[in-house]
Point group: C2
Chain length 459, copies 2
Amino acid sequence: MSRRLGIPKGTKDLNLEAITQRNYITEIIREQFERFCFEQMETPAFENTGTLFGNYGEEGDNLIFKILNSGNYLSKVPHNVYKEKNSKVLSRYISEKALRYDLTIPLSRFICMNQHLLTFPFKRFQIQPVWRADRPQKGRFREFYQCDADVIGSTSLLQEVEFLQLYDAVFTNLSLPAQLSLNNRKILYGICETFGVEDMFKAFSVSLDKINKIGKDSVLEELKSKGISGEVCTNILEIVLFEGNNREKIDLLKTKLSSSPRGKEGISELEFIFKTVDQINLQTLDICLDISLARGLQYYTGSIFEVMAKGVEIGSIGGGGRYDNLTETFGSYGRLGGVGISFGLDRIHIVLEQLNLFPKTLLENREVLFLNLGEAENIHTLNIINRFRKNNINAFLFPEKTKMKKQLAYANRRGVRFVAIVGEEELKGNHITIKNMLTGVQTTVSEKDAKKLILNTLG
Amino acid sequence: MSRRLGIPKGTKDLNLEAITQRNYITEIIREQFERFCFEQMETPAFENTGTLFGNYGEEGDNLIFKILNSGNYLSKVPHNVYKEKNSKVLSRYISEKALRYDLTIPLSRFICMNQHLLTFPFKRFQIQPVWRADRPQKGRFREFYQCDADVIGSTSLLQEVEFLQLYDAVFTNLSLPAQLSLNNRKILYGICETFGVEDMFKAFSVSLDKINKIGKDSVLEELKSKGISGEVCTNILEIVLFEGNNREKIDLLKTKLSSSPRGKEGISELEFIFKTVDQINLQTLDICLDISLARGLQYYTGSIFEVMAKGVEIGSIGGGGRYDNLTETFGSYGRLGGVGISFGLDRIHIVLEQLNLFPKTLLENREVLFLNLGEAENIHTLNIINRFRKNNINAFLFPEKTKMKKQLAYANRRGVRFVAIVGEEELKGNHITIKNMLTGVQTTVSEKDAKKLILNTLG
């Protein structure tokens, strides 16, 4: 019987190299999350559909992977519903769970389920895969890791400052030059308010979010088609796309949004953040006010961030923002301020590869292959290997007694760093012959010296 | 809007404590996997249904979580199929993917997709969650981690020996006394052959696998109901349940199975393993021949293992075996011998907890909370915190300027190890006041001494 081979569209197997590189990044992120006193948490791969749907906009909702109920799931579908043969309607009856789409909504669900047990401000981080039924393309997969840190239960702007420090610490440790765009949803609302189109705020921010993808003209057309007058559109885009330094942009906003209370609040939040950051010496991160930054998700209420790698055109490698009402929609008691950031692991991976920023030694092989010379020698060799391993040396015995040539070919193909031989001669003299496969140098030494040699070479 | 709260049945959120304990175990396992030169690999959370179904028996297949196709998935269902309203039949049309049920089948799929690129024997390990729609009960979840190591491409019994060493190394490092039951499917086949019921081998092994759950008498009844005569059943169970030491059991098998070539092969494999293991000094693991060990999965062809923790009644904490034909069913070129083992992470977790084997310091809080005394002090404090973090100290500033009492209450509830104060006095003298929250001791020292104090205390 031969089965259908293949891997699902948009997914990939990760080999040692890919995992080692990913772990290099996640370990740096995790370490900084801990330095900043975020506690690790994990949530299940799937959530109840009621938890997930309705948070990501219609487009997002369509990308959620639904899980089919188990057993005779059709028995619960009423006859008239089934007769309709409508996929959307039927789903509600045959699917109660779905794969998580991000880490923020599961966090909100967790917070509200455990509010009475938690200590607020609650700082958590989470590094787990998420799944989206997106059209696969280069660098975009249907399964990918997210690395999130969030604080729930504080409206202090010092949290924003801390997240900027956190981004700075991580990108410093990755040696990755990065620029953070900062904006505030209150400013975007203020802009709408100023021109009397605050009821269009949601539509406006959805369109604006696409400006880097579709360009200014298309955004203009979209806004017009949504019912905003051409003149207002032009005025709005003039503000949003104003070029200048942070100071000049803030001055412009102060002038333009002077009649919008919400807009002014946004400006003063921005100013606090800039003022504070100026006094705490970030090492790697440049921070720019980008009034055109909107962020797609509708739950953001204040500061929003997006990080780009300098010198690599790949889109954002991180983002986040403040969402002060989100947990309330899940039934938390009272309003719990929330703010969080995310690292785009796959893109950071690509950037580090392009800029050649992975440490040179990361993928070095550290293994010792002992050749198989026959049953008599093997017992002796197995005991040596055992002692090697106890000295933190990665070692193994070739399982078959085949020709030396074949075993060496295996060593080469696998790329082991050392080959070790314990043959008749070595057995007599209580020696081991060690061959460094990178230099080709071969030496016959005592077991103790062999271990020393290997550990010294590996550093 | 308040949504439906709750977490899907049979799943759990993991908090810092649970993750820290799990990581303690997986890091020990991972380290030994690397010592033994297994390469880490990861596969996607879901596979094509064609890959998964048909490997786990009917019971297993029913526990696989199917993923609903995206979009208008009903449009591809033929009218006559839909009309049937049969869950099983409909699934084939509306679900192309399913969550992985174990790590062995994805490995086999991977091997066959990449056979031309791999170097055999191929040694891989994998630590990832799997999902099963099992009835949830104490210690059994619908999402849980598996830790597997496998070698593909060698039929050498030295692989079995290596896996016994690997189990020994891991349980030694966990300080967990364990006993491994060893058997061989060829012996079970040999027993059937000896009594002329080799066509019942599969049914026999399925029933035998349940002997610890349902008892000897129920197994006897089940075998009879499957059509094996009462006398044969009694004879078979007499062998299977024979009590004695390993030597006595092997002697019994040699006598009883002398007419079964397959049985004799199994015995000689066992003998090789016992003989070799006797000469290589395992530290922690006892190895017992258990003729009643069957293992549920039908793909096993030779040696089978199961590990129990000594002194804790919880079932197996590890298991595995040889499956020399499995990749062939996925279309590999030629037969690739395979053998692998798995660690039961959740049960090991429970055992370590019961036996109090987690290191005492594992869950110790290592954080420093800086109190928030107002905007003027905060800038100074933020800079100190920054330097603390660069010295590998986990530290953060309380985000709100609230009453001291409230901030200290937070420190206590969160259980931080140190509270730090940089007030007016400290600012003047360039000092920090550090309070050790475990001892209550409070000291005012220079920044340098504060860092030293904290790092020394944490050890």
